[in-house]
């Protein structure tokens, strides 16, 4: 093993981490907003909205993410209307195209997770809230969201990890995040195994950190699942 090469490669690859995190963070955040909208559309009871959201999810889950990225990055430029529109300065850049594709893609997967979470709230509780005279919004905020979130969190955590992994595809449209740099080094040195070990280690560390974070959040959000502390009920002595 050539440790000099490994060290240099690791340093080079680490310079791609900020871009990776940026892509993952913004696409997941924007995707979550879109996903909630889609989930609410499916649960609205309005057949038109339901069909729209359903077809959106069908299309984005049924096609490879790479096709979606190419469609946005290369495909949209085919139309003069788009090239002359105000959006062109954004859609011309690989960064915004990758972000858009990742956002639209994760929104489709997350909306199903969120819908499952909302559906998991027992109807009796909604009924009780209505009987107390809560408004729809108040029910959503106080009853549905806190409980649905808890149920959806493990699956959503998986989706976050999958998205971190999917940002690698942005390298195909020339973005130099970790995988992009890795493929460049491999093409220059032909030492695929060493580069793979370094890049793989970076992704594994990121995933480990994310899954620990989600587990902590899960623990915080479900106090009823925690074992009661030994001193429960006894006030802490003043210090």
């Amino acid at each position: 093993m050539d440790f000099d090469f490994l060290g240099q490669t690791l340093l080079l690859l680490l310079s791609g981490v900020p871009l990776l995190l940026q892509l993952a963070f913004f696409s997941i955040a924007a995707g979550a907003v879109l996903a909630v909208l889609l989930a609410l559309m499916r649960l609205s009871g309005n057949p038109a909205l339901d069909v729209c959201a359903r077809s959106y999810v069908f299309v984005f889950r049924g096609t490879p993410l790479l096709v979606q990225i190419f469609l946005i990055y290369y495909g949209l430029g085919q139309f003069p209307e788009i090239r002359q529109s105000l959006l062109w300065p954004f859609l011309r850049q690989p960064y915004w195209c990758a972000l858009l594709a990742l956002t639209l893609n994760t929104a489709a997967y997350s909306s199903e997770i969120i819908r499952g979470g909302i559906l998991s709230v027992p109807f009796g509780q909604i009924e009780a809230a209505r009987a107390c005279g809560m408004s729809r919004w108040l029910i959503f905020r106080r009853i549905t969201v806190p409980q649905g979130l808890r149920v959806a969190l493990p699956a959503y955590g998986n989706e976050i990890i999958l998205m971190t992994r999917s940002t690698a595809l942005a390298s195909v449209i020339t973005l130099m995040e970790v995988t992009g740099i890795a493929s460049k080094i491999i093409a220059e040195t032909f030492r695929a195994v060493e580069v793979f070990i370094c890049a793989g280690a970076i992704y594994l560390v990121l995933n480990f950190a994310i899954s620990r974070g989600i587990a902590l959040l899960e623990r915080r959000l479900s106090p009823q699942m925690r074992a009661p502390a030994a001193s429960a009920g006894v006030p802490e002595p003043a210090r």
Binding site: F58, Q78, S166, S171, T179, F190, A192, F196, Y203, L204
Partner: protein, 237 residues
């Protein structure tokens, strides 16, 4: 619209035949990868159920690593790593120049070992869904391990595994698009080629997307049928 029909049609200037051929290539490479993944997945599942604790640890590491690392990296590793190894071997045997791995083989193996990581979890779950009493009964009537595996475990585990395998198949189908980066002329690569030579990228990529949708819809329907057939003797609440 007429332009589009001409472009994707089966006329003298149409790309229809090439796109369909590429779709078949996508199916072929995905199916090869999926079959490979079934073999790997079964081995890993066995290691996790029955294996020595070291083997279990190795199996755990395998699934964690392959589910956490981008598929693109695995494809690069197999393609470029494999090519470097082959070239070194060829040089040792006296040949000169660069020897590349076959893109189909490298891609199918890469997607296959990733698929294997997912399939192992499904097989393990399916094995655990078999009633313990049946295994005990099989042992009590004196079945050998192999006979028990063949007659009791496989038919039942497979039945429970069908829905999960359907999901993994869809994943393999979509992951096969990544093999285009090492130059295998499957659906996405063919669309790229067409987009490049006609300057109509949207038409080609939307066609590729539609063909992927057709593939995933058809196979989704197939797996639902298989599930209905597999579950026909099971009483459900």
């Amino acid at each position: 619209m007429i332009d589009y029909v001409d472009l994707m049609g089966f006329g003298p200037k149409g790309w229809g035949p090439l796109m369909l051929q590429a779709t078949l290539m996508t199916v072929a490479v995905s199916a090869t990868a999926f079959a490979l993944g079934s073999g790997v997945g079964a081995l890993i599942a066995w290691a996790r159920i029955e294996g020595h604790s070291l083997l279990q640890l190795a199996a755990d590491a395998y699934t964690t690593v392959l589910r956490g690392i981008p598929d693109l990296l695995v494809i690069y590793l197999l393609y470029f790593g494999g090519s470097a190894a082959l070239t070194a071997l060829a040089h040792a045997l006296g040949a000169k120049g660069f020897v590349g791995v076959d893109a189909f083989a490298a891609g199918a193996i890469a997607v296959g070992i990733i698929s294997g990581a997912y399939q192992s979890e499904i097989f393990r779950g399916a094995y655990q869904a078999i009633a313990r009493g049946e295994l005990e009964a099989a042992r009590a009537v004196g079945m050998s391990r192999w006979l028990m595996f063949r007659r009791i475990i496989v038919p039942q585990a497979l039945r429970f595994a069908i829905p999960g395998l359907g999901n993994v198949w869809q994943l393999a189908l979509k992951e096969s698009a990544l093999i285009s980066v090492v130059g295998l002329t499957e659906l996405l690569r063919q669309a790229q080629v067409g987009a490049g030579s006609t300057r109509q990228p949207f038409a080609f990529f939307i066609t590729a997307a539609a063909l992927y949708l057709v593939l995933s819809t058809l196979s989704g329907w197939g797996f639902r049928r298989a599930e209905a057939v597999g579950m026909r003797g099971v009483r459900r609440s």
